[in-house]
Amino acid sequence: MPGMSMVQALNSAIDVMLGRDPDVVIFGEDVGYYGGVFRVTEGLQKKHGDHRVFDAPIAEGGMLGTAVGMGAYGLRPIVEIQFADYIYPATDQLISAAARLRYRSGGEFWAPITVRAPCGGGIFGGQTHSQSVEAIFTHVCGLKTVIPSNPYDAKGLLISAIEDDDPVVFFEPKRLYNGPFDGHPDRPSVPWTQHPQSEVPDGYYTVPLGQAAVARPGDAVTVLAYGTMVHVALAAAEEAEIDAEIIDLRTLLPLDIDTVVDSVKKTGRCVIAHEATRTCGYGAELAALVQEHCFYHLEAPIVRVTGWDTPYPHIFEWEYFPGPQRVADGMRRAIEG
């Protein structure tokens, strides 16, 4: 059980699955020989061969299109989109084909595809290397959407995604690749090895899709978060000394509604935090659901702390990013009503 970074944990998940299941293949831009621009597939082509791990032409739509065909054949393709910001050319194949296939064919064909893409900001990547686009996909019936927050979950969830017979969009917060990030860019960065969730088994295990985790139990307010924002929320709770219950959703669709509802019923207050732009973001759905299920328990309006409704600006990264200060303010607002 060595300490693994999130990159290593993802690499291990793919390695394990390539080893266990001869139908698993992975491809994408720079994924093969080079091992991916974030090194997630490093060493895998050498180990498993270039029929299983290969480079793709720069055509995200072509990758999804061929992946649907591979899935229909019986393979379990994993597609790496180099940045979530570049997933748009693939939306038609993802939405019109992969997500609808089982339904429209009466269950005859399906698309057991996993689409991996680094998401989120925090690396000065500007507006085309920082986006969080999950809400486009959570709106699409037939897709599952997953965003892990730590190495252990990343590996276990990715294995579940690969084994899943439905198409899964798997977003990886790139700011967490090499260490947990609490939203303080000015502080020295911490590697995963010092974090308990970097204890990752070498072999096969799963973290089931559709189950949230309580990242921090508490009574004062419920914070619904995922990906990087889990760490930011933890920092916010600590720094503001608020006894928040922080829920790491892990899977956005299907959502673990029970964990969410139980917590909000207990605290009576709710903050939703995500990096994506606010309007029609996934937080809107969470707010709608929470008020539907917990209306009579809510003591104050649900607060959304999110990225602004602007592109991710290069130089104002940290003014854009919903850091611990803003999350703490949100908690206070939710508590004070």
Binding site: A59, G69, W110
Partner: protein, 384 residues
């Protein structure tokens, strides 16, 4: 007037480098001449028995289309699309492929299914969205799916099947499988990105796939020039990707068969993909929602120089002494009866308007393999 004579195009070896096929992108492979004789190197030399089976499948396709088109007019189905004039493509290509080669078609290759002896009863039930519709009433009429016939689920979205066929073929190659894939796209839809993706990936991965462009001159009201068909042939699109290219008289059963056989052998022997332009004419309206008199010259269809595929094959068989006008008439009548009879059975399982349909409960199934909580609750909300 035919611009290209039958038998004039040479037939390269299936192992030829793709580049050597590129001149063929500007010619037209034809086998049946104006007299109904089969001439030239592309004649697949089929037995009279096979030819008669091909003829029958084309005629059944047409009879099926005719009835279903009328069923829409009678309000029994919501929508229909015929392939009149294009029957040689679906039927001829299915005949030339192995039965387990995987087909990624458009809505205009119902002939593929019929040639594979897929029951028209099943197809009709899909069109009626009735209680025997295996697609559970979910799809528009004509958007069939038939895994048991190696026929991939049809999409309403133009073009998206094209790279899927390439992906299937890549998978077949990865697995060392002998099966190949074939796909079809309308000439209008070649403008979609999926066309580009399919050609790129087929070239880069040398996928065992046949990519067909059915150039029936029209895309609803848009002439093929709006897809760039005047500046170059659609077969020529292969050149820039180093893929083999053939251009074929799509109304000539023997040419269709011969070219497909060539491309299939080439793919199966691992020499790569072939792009085939099937040059044909959409004799029917685009669909039941369409009125072609609003946009195309009245006599265009009648003056179409490459004739009707059924008449042409029939004439060939007659010339061979293997068929007669009388037998043709008789078969035509038999098939009309047959389709009517099957149609009655299909209707007995329900029509769109009268039902019975699948249970409404099934509306919430198959979105995912297992139904998540939110769909269960929505089903409860609907009270079913």
């Amino acid at each position: 007037m035919p611009r290209f004579a039958a038998g004039a195009v040479e037939r390269p070896d299936i192992a030829v480098p793709a580049q050597q096929t590129h001149p063929l992108a500007y010619q037209l492979i034809r086998v049946l001449d104006d007299e109904g004789a089969a001439v030239g190197a592309w004649d697949p030399k089929l037995s009279p028995e096979t030819l008669r089976r091909g003829l029958r499948a084309m005629m059944l396709t047409r009879a099926y289309d005719d009835r279903m088109f009328r069923q829409q007019r009678q309000g029994k189905i919501s929508f229909y699309m015929k392939c009149t004039g294009e029957e040689a493509i679906g039927v001829g290509q299915a005949f030339a492929l192995a039965p387990d080669d995987m087909l990624f078609a458009t809505y205009r290759q119902q002939g593929l299914l019929i040639a594979r002896d897929w029951p028209i009863l099943d197809m009709m039930c899909e069109c009626y969205s009735n209680s025997h519709d295996r697609l559970k009433g979910r799809q528009l009429p004509v958007l069939y799916s038939a895994r048991a016939a190696s026929f991939f689920s049809l999409a309403g979205n133009l073009g998206i099947q094209y790279p899927q066929a390439v992906g299937w073929a890549m998978a077949s190659a990865i697995k060392g499988d002998h099966r190949i894939a074939a796909s079809w796209i309308g000439e209008g839809s070649t403008a979609e990105p999926d066309f580009h993706h399919a050609l790129t990936f087929a070239s880069v991965y040398r996928a065992p796939v046949i990519l067909n462009v059915v150039n029936n001159q029209w895309a609803i009201s848009s002439h093929q020039e709006i897809a760039g068909g005047e500046a170059a042939t659609f077969a020529a699109r292969a050149i820039g990707f180093g893929l083999a290219s053939l251009r074929v008289d799509g109304n000539d059963f023997l040419a269709v068969y011969g070219a497909t056989q060539w491309a299939a052998e080439r793919a199966r022997a691992n020499h790569g993909a072939t792009l085939i332009e099937m040059f044909t004419y959409r004799a029917a309206p685009h669909s039941t929602s369409d009125d072609p008199t609003r946009y195309r010259p009245e006599n265009e269809g009648r003056n179409w120089p490459y004739g009707d595929p059924i008449e042409r094959l029939s004439r060939h068989l007659i010339r061979l002494g293997e068929w007669s006008p009388e037998r043709h008439k008789q078969l035509e009548a038999e098939l009309v009866d047959y389709v009517r009879e099957v149609g009655r059975e299909a209707e007995s399982y329900g029509t769109m308007q009268t039902g019975p349909h699948f249970s409404v409960r099934t509306m919430f199934e198959d979105v995912f393999k297992e139904m998540p909580w939110h769909l269960r609750r929505q089903r409860q909300e609907l009270g079913v």
